[in-house]
Amino acid sequence: MEWASVAFYLIATVCVLSAAGVVIARSAVHSAIFLILCFLNIAATFVMLGAEFLAVVQVIVYTGAILVLVLFVLMLVDEDQLPDFHTGQPIQRISGLILGLILLLEIGAAITARSIQGATGGATPENVAAVGGNTQALGRVLYDDNLLAFIVVSLVLTVAVIGAIVLALPDRRVGINQRRGTGTINLGHPVGTDGIPLALPAVRGESPIAAATPGDLRPVAGERQIIMVRDPDAYTEVGQHDAAPDNRPLIKR
């Protein structure tokens, strides 16, 4: 056996084992790390297949960007509080297993028994070398035959950016809460800087405290006030409003 074959079997074994690790690992963080391992090995197979540029993109985009993002979100989000995806009945697991085996058999049959041969293109190793290598060859195809797709992918990325801004931006206090001037004040103020605005200036979009000039704020004499700040999320559901008689910040001595 050649060294290349040995390398292939080694890479393939690590790939399959780490992919299984993604599914089996109990902790999502472990899954993500297994996935990184798997993707790195897939990048190695890309190199074996003469797609050096894609291998680099695979490492930079998949492991460098996407999986780091996944890990970041894993740290940010409390997994236990996310709803489950399935009801997780055992029947679903068993059917998943059977479906997977059937598909594996089908794909196996397709790989071993396929008879139709595709039309071969002109990108023989010699031609690719003649234009300067894999990256150059890919560039030629990208800007020539696939120009439209190349343009439209930029729109896909734009949609992703807009979507992320809309969905992940914390709720602005819009609607009722804003009109009623709910302010949020950090509890951790140094003593003496707390204050209540003498008159609530009706500036839309800003908390009255932030909008107040220092002159509007009456310094607090004596003991420090504790300002109870409502959890912004308390406003998400109707019914929460009905719990308190009015929607002004609760102020307690």
Binding site: P83, F85, E106, I107, A109, A110, I111, A113, R114, S115, I116, Q117, G118, A119, T120, G121, G122, A123, N127, V128, A130, V131, A137, R140, V141, Y143, D144, D145, N146, L147, L148, A149, V152, V153, L155, V156, T158, V159, A160, I162, G163, I165, V166, L167, D171, V174, G175, I176, T236, E237, V238, G239, H241, D242
Partner: protein
């Protein structure tokens, strides 16, 4: 397909409608940032409407064409025109019915009987995402190779995922979006695997070249090659997910129920139209030589989808969920058009044109039904069956419109939905699929139960004295136009179907000539 660099400028004059939608969306992005607050909403609505209607008129430049540009990646032919027309009609209708929602936000009835705004939706981003989704769907309709097809589907779907989660202060909205997103991604992966196999056995991404290669290898033992069949199966599953066919429909009720109602109206038509566009491009254009295999698959799926959708819809008391299952059932009717395709399709083959006509009809009546729900939601209710109590006495015109939409969805004779079903049934009988034709009739009879229940509730129950909606001119006008279209467009069905016939005929003839 060598490596020679051949940088010819694409012929953009073939792509006027798509360009207009694209430019409109970019203009919207900037208008959202720079237009002062007072004119903000009116300006954005105006830009959207002008853009979509302008693009619809620009379709004239593409009609009768049969050309390709961008190295064959973009096709301007009859199918492009008809599907783009459907998508643009849906876009205009969505903009019209979402206006009141965007202005008033999502209201809920508090326990003290007062209305509260539970969700307000940023109008700028809403219109921009609708614009991108429409552009993606139009791109699928015009796709000439697998790459553009895939990217068009993803662009359209990605914008729709975000739109589904737009009422992000309501958990059901975000949860529905999550389910839609994950299953959509899963479907994309399956679809991609299918495309990969097709590419692997034909050596080309170009739809016409795939057809040519398959026709060239036909000489041997026919199409029993397992690799080809595997690719076909994966494509059917992937597209089936996208169009919400039955074993792959689980995301539909949750996503439809959770999404803001105008978005539900949009996503019940545009991504579905994009999925059918992809199906026609992939199966009729590229895999035409395998039509014996895929028509069987679609026929079985159509049967299951029709029966399941209609039967489950009966049990729903939430009107949005009921309409979700009803839209699954309609997917089944539309798929019959695909199943009725006969190999080597001739100009006389009515299957694809009946499919196209059905999607057009479905656009009007389904968006109309969701428009009525949007109207009712202004008073904070409108999701449950009880919310329709006595609508006939409090809002008689809206009740009449809803009755029209329900009757049309059911398939009552002079209405649009009847003609749509009629043409599909004719196509099925032409293709010797009598059992499918009978199923359509039986399923429609079953569907009468839940469609008529809404009508009965509107006319026979007493109003329960909830606060009434403030009529918005744009929304009321939109419901009126959709109702009139549902009532009258059926009478003009024969010129439309002729047009569809001519266009889809051009497509199949093209597929054959490429094959020879």
């Amino acid at each position: 397909m060598g490596l020679d660099l051949d940088l010819t400028a694409p012929d953009l004059t073939l792509a006027w409608p798509q360009l207009i939608v694209f430019v409109m969306t970019v203009v919207l992005l900037f208008a959202d940032a720079f237009v002062p607050k007072a004119q903000h909403f009116a300006t954005l609505t105006g830009i959207s409407l002008v853009g979509y209607i302008g693009a619809a008129f620009a379709l004239v430049t593409q009609s009768g064409q049969n050309a390709a540009t961008f190295d064959g990646a973009f096709r301007a032919d009859g199918l492009t025109v008809f599907l783009s027309l459907i998508i643009l009609v849906a876009a205009v209708a969505t903009v019209v019915i979402s206006a009141s929602y965007l202005q008033n936000g999502e209201q809920q009835l508090g326990s003290d009987g007062r209305l509260r705004i539970a969700n307000s939706v940023p109008a700028g981003e809403f219109y921009v995402l609708i614009g991108f989704s429409v552009f993606g769907a139009m791109l699928v309709a015009a796709a000439g190779n697998l790459i553009v097809l895939y990217i068009g589907i993803e662009l359209s779907a990605l914008a729709t995922y975000v739109l589904t989660a737009f009422a992000k202060r309501r958990l059901t909205s975000v949860e529905g979006a999550m389910k839609y997103f994950l299953l959509g991604l899963f479907a994309s992966a399956i679809l991609l695997y299918g495309m990969t196999w097709i590419y692997g056995v034909t050596g080309s991404m170009d739809l016409d070249r795939i057809a040519a290669h398959l026709a060239g290898t036909d000489a041997g033992d026919g199409f029993t090659d397992p690799a080809l069949l595997l690719g076909l199966l994966l494509l059917v599953v992937g597209i089936g997910f996208k169009m919400a066919a039955v074993p792959f429909h689980f995301w539909t009720p949750d996503a439809y129920d959770g999404a803001p109602t105008p978005v539900t109206a949009f996503m019940s038509v545009v991504p579905k139209a994009a999925a059918f566009a992809a199906a026609i491009r992939l199966f009729v254009q590229a895999l035409e030589p395998l039509s014996d295999q895929w028509t069987t698959l679609w026929a079985v799926l159509a049967l299951v989808t029709m029966v399941f959708g209609n039967v489950v819809a009966i049990a729903q008391r939430n009107v949005k969920r009921m309409l979700a299952y009803s839209s699954i059932a309609h997917t089944g009717y539309i798929m019959v058009g695909l199943a009725a395709y006969t190999s080597g399709g001739t100009i006389d083959d009515p299957s694809i044109s009946s499919l196209l006509f059905y999607i057009l009809a479905y656009t009007f009546m389904n968006i109309g039904a969701f428009a009525v729900i949007t109207y009712l939601q202004q008073r904070g209710v409108g999701m449950m069956l009880e919310d329709f109590n006595g609508l006939a006495s409090t809002r008689p015109l809206i009740a009449v419109a809803m009755t029209l939409f329900m009757a049309s969805l059911m398939g009552v004779p002079p209405l649009l939905g009847f003609y749509a079903k009629y043409y599909v049934i004719v196509a099925a009988i032409d293709a010797d699929l009598l059992w499918l034709a009978v199923t359509i009739v039986v399923a429609s009879a079953v569907s009468a139960f839940f469609y008529l229940r809404i009508v009965a509730v509107m006319y026979f129950n007493q109003p329960d004295g909830r606060p009434l909606a403030l009529p918005t001119r744009l929304l009321s006008g939109g419901i009126g136009v959709l109702a009139v279209a549902t009532l009258l467009l059926g009478l003009f069905s024969s010129p439309i179907i002729d047009l569809a016939d001519q266009w889809s005929g051009a497509l199949t003839v093209l597929g054959r000539t490429a094959g020879q």
